[in-house]
Amino acid sequence: MDKFFLAICFFLAVMLETTVIQLPFVLLLLLVTTIFYRTEWIFIVGLILGIIIDGLTFRHLGETSLFYIIFLLFVFLYEQKFELKTVAFAALMSFVGSFFFFLVFGSQVFILQLIAATIIGSLFFLAFSRIKTPVAKKYNVE
């Protein structure tokens, strides 16, 4: 059920990002999924979604995938230093990820989009924290 819900979220994020709103929804969802699931299949998901986004936005296929997997690697490496499952971490990584995303792929209104992406990343984290996940169940965390 969790994975089905995630699949729907990722599909909606791809559609919104490539059609209507210039915000990195997929990047933020990947970040939050990494925080809660902490498994390596996130890289495969990031790879596939990046290729789809490149196809729909007329970028070179593989550009966005490369960005996503490098970003996810940093998130995983960061796990060794600090606690991941906090809204502060989610906000910080949303900010950093979106900053470099807009730097690499361009933006209309850099500062406003950056702020919006940080807020949305934090909201995604809060929404996910209310849903029971395998990690939450294992550690009996609400």
Binding site: E40, L66, I69, L72, Q108, V109
Partner: protein
Amino acid sequence: MAKRQILFLVFIFCAIVAFFTLFFISDSRGYIQTVFSGPQTVLLHLFQIFKISDGKTQQENKALTLELAKMNLIKADNASLHDQFLTSNPPNKNLLPAQIVGMPSFLPGISMPEGYILHAGKKEKVFINAPIIYKDNLIGKVVNLEDHFSKVILVSNKNMSFSGKTTDTGATGIIKGTGNGTIIFDNVLLSDTLKVGDIVVTSGEVDINGKGFPPDLVVGKITSVEKNPSSLFQRASVASLINFSKLTNVFVLLSD
């Protein structure tokens, strides 16, 4: 330690696939676009329905909202086709109607899109730099192509620049996009006259193959003039007569 090794192995595998895709598989965008064009079109028109209508729409149920989206799509198609083919410039035989399937912007309905994704491509004889028009207004040009889809930048895009003139005073200059829906009419000689309310049109940049911007396509109306006697040139701000975020169909001007 084993978990870390698996992590790096998966990362390296994904990085290799991404590099391989980047350098060797660049022509497969068309398949991805074909699969997702349906949901993109529905989502885009749903957003345009909510932009146009008032708060009452929020109370309609989902089935009625989708029906409304489809009906408005058909009505918009008919209206734009009817309007376009009543105009005489450019000649109707060279026009290809194209549906907009994507127009990402920061705040839909508030900030202007920088470009469109159209459901028309190489197979429909669209070419790079093909002008995009709506009635007799220049909307933008094609910058990227696949078999059935193309990417368009608007006249207000920062990468857009072409020659233009005013209809009233005949002043010539360069029309440049500056982003977020704003256009300037720059490099106009101080000896030329620019006045607020004058219409700016294309000068015409058609090459020997019939490709390029034809003359007298409307770009917009002058809203303010900036004239400094100590400068070499004067400039004006131009506002487009078309709301780019409200369009659902445009027309590609094909070569003869």
